[in-house]
């Protein structure tokens, strides 16, 4: 069983603000899914290597050479808030309000 509190904690890790209705719904749905998923824990997997790579695990290297890129203006153009050169975000370091 995954409690609503646990869902709230996990949602926080995933940067999701959920409504109370969503928390209740996900708590019951995830409990039933994980109940079913528990089956895999009955498998004897001693000594089995996990699949960390889909097919090949070779490292891929390339020469460190400069190539044309998109450019700053183009890259920020699709952002919801921009000054034309950078992304605009709310203040990251918050100052305490003066008394």
């Amino acid at each position: 069983m995954i409690s609503k509190e646990e869902i709230t904690k996990i949602a926080g890790l995933a940067m999701l603000e959920l409504s109370e209705t969503e928390k209740t719904e996900y708590s019951s749905q995830l409990s039933s899914l994980l109940g079913y998923f528990k089956d895999i824990q009955s498998l004897d997997l001693a000594g089995v290597e996990p699949t960390n790579h889909a097919l090949v695990a070779d490292n891929v290297l390339r020469e460190d050479t400069a190539a044309p890129s998109l450019g700053q203006k183009t890259v920020v153009a699709g952002a919801p808030a921009t000054d034309g050169k950078s992304y605009r975000v709310p203040a990251i370091i918050e100052t305490e309000e003066q008394p």
């Binding site: 995933a14 999701l16 079913y36 498998l43 996990p50 890259v75 203040a91």
Partner: protein, 490 residues
């Protein structure tokens, strides 16, 4: 009541919009039809049917601005793209509100390749949000309908691409397949669909869902067209470090050469014919096995004993990867940002809450849970080990058989709304397709008849990079049968 489908005797009898691309290529070359006429017709069909089918999220004018590729197979042929494949200057939403205003600044490698081949891109197709779903009911932009019966789902997540081909609006459409998202809608809409070997096609410019499982592939009328589509989109790409340098023969030449089916060993996994399969599906697939036997193939029994673990393994790995991939949608770099928020963290949380739909949030939570400390070993790591066992099952099966044959889905297309209440019921509809993604092998779906008036798909899987053999066997089947000549009456 008139039938919901039409069965043609051959390609010659088919109207132009339903003919396979190789027939259209011949017609263009013989000057029986012009490229401009084709694009005009495709755009008109897509536009006029969209009010009912909702297969397209955007329809463009086609290939007028495209250069090059004059001698290529796809030159001038109308094609469609799933809306999670980025297109420079054309809105790409992945079926999500969080990307409702996203206009990419570059083309995916597959789009660049199709443009180089001169294909006429007529539109972007509807899909389950971020490819998470099996019915195209999870799109932020409405449900796509099955052209065979508009009260039923087209399957998903690439439902729009399947419908684009099934309704005769495009001769080829690209989709993406993470757990069956090409093969399942192909089966449910009566067209062909293929998931190539992991790495065969570059994922550069595919909006990521689960990076170790995602693969782009085509929907077409027949197996020869699938081979032509794979010729156009495959190959190593320096921009996708997981794309393979495996040599790619000309798949279409290989298929056209024909394959002697005598002695070709086709493996039938017992685990795929258990209870819970619709009678009509089981019957059609068994008839197809009989057909392959008649063609000289040797039918052998193979075992895939870890099949029953595939759904948990898949949903744990896919959601874990998704929770990481979707962290990039934060209201800063592109797409949607919540209108009101108190501070930076609040902006992230509100943007993601308002921007993502219910299924996407459910999967992010599940994936975050499976990766969180305390549960990582019990869920994620166990799933990765079980994935190794599933891979081993297939390697063992391919030591006994050249190809594996199975149903694509346990049942034909279900009713809209039938499975939305319980996620597990929906997830179970992927039971026969997800193993190929976990094992990284290629698999395709071709029509093999009807069950209750709705199409049934037959799945052929091959070992790594054996697409040629798989496609050739599928085409040999189609040369001797007429299931692919049966189309929705639209």
């Amino acid at each position: 009541m008139s039938e919901n489908y039409i069965k043609y005797a051959n390609y010659k009898e088919m109207p132009v919009h339903f003919k396979p691309a190789h027939e259209i290529r011949r017609m263009i070359d013989a000057k029986e039809i012009s490229e401009a006429e084709l694009t005009k017709m495709a755009v008109e069909r897509a536009s006029s049917s969209n009010g009912v089918l909702n297969a397209f999220l955007s329809i463009s004018g086609g290939g007028a601005e495209l250069a090059g590729g004059k001698n290529s197979f796809w030159a001038g042929i109308p094609v469609a793209l799933k809306d999670n494949i980025v297109t420079k200057g054309i809105k790409t939403t992945a079926g999500s509100k969080i990307l409702e205003n996203y206009t990419p600044i570059y083309d995916a490698t597959v789009v660049q390749k199709l443009k180089n081949a001169g294909a006429s891109i007529i539109g972007k197709t509807n899909m389950d949000e971020f490819a998470m779903g099996s019915s195209t009911e999870n799109s932020a932009f409405g449900v796509t309908k099955n052209p065979w019966d508009i009260t039923r789902v087209p399957g998903g997540s690439s439902g729009g691409s399947a419908v684009a081909v099934a309704s005769g609006s495009a001769y080829m459409a690209l989709g993406s397949d993470t757990g069956g998202s090409i093969r399942q809608p192909a089966a449910l809409c009566g067209v062909c669909g293929m998931k190539p070997t992991y790495g065969r096609v570059s994922r550069y410019g595919l909006i990521a869902f689960a990076s170790s499982l995602d693969q782009i592939g085509p929907f077409t009328r027949d197996a020869l067209d699938m081979a032509h589509a794979l010729d156009a989109i495959c190959g190593h790409d320096p921009k996708d470090s997981t794309s393979s340098a495996a040599p790619a023969e000309s798949f279409s030449d290989f298929v056209k050469k024909g394959m002697d089916m005598n002695g070709v060993k086709i493996g039938i996994p017992d685990e795929y014919f258990g209870e819970g399969i619709e009678q009509g599906v089981s019957d059609r697939v068994k008839e197809a096995i009989g057909q392959f036997e008649k063609m000289g193939a040797k039918i052998v029994s193979v075992k895939l004993p870890h099949t029953k673990y595939a759904i948990p393994v898949y949903y744990l790995i896919a959601t874990a990867e998704a929770s990481s991939n979707l962290s990039r949608f934060d209201g800063v770099k592109y797409g949607f940002r919540a209108a009101e928020f108190k501070n930076l963290k609040d902006m992230y949380m509100k943007t993601r809450d308002e921007g993502f739909g219910a299924e996407v949030k459910r999967r992010i939570i599940l994936g975050t849970y499976a990766l969180s400390s305390g549960y990582y070993d019990a869920y994620y790591k166990t799933a990765q080990k079980a994935r190794t066992k599933i891979k081993e099952d297939f390697q063992d099966a391919f030591s006994r058989a050249d190809l594996i044959l199975s149903p694509v889905t346990p049942a034909a297309a279900f009713k809209i709304g039938e499975k939305t209440a319980d996620p597990l019921t929906m997830y179970m509809s992927d039971i026969f397709t997800i193993s190929a993604n976990l094992a990284s092998i290629p698999a395709l779906s071709i029509p093999c008849g009807l069950s209750g008036g709705m199409p049934v798909g037959l799945q052929l899987s091959g070992n790594y990079f054996q697409e040629g053999k798989m496609l050739a066997a599928a085409y040999e089947f189609q040369k001797r049968t007429d299931h692919h000549l049966c189309v929705a009456a639209v």
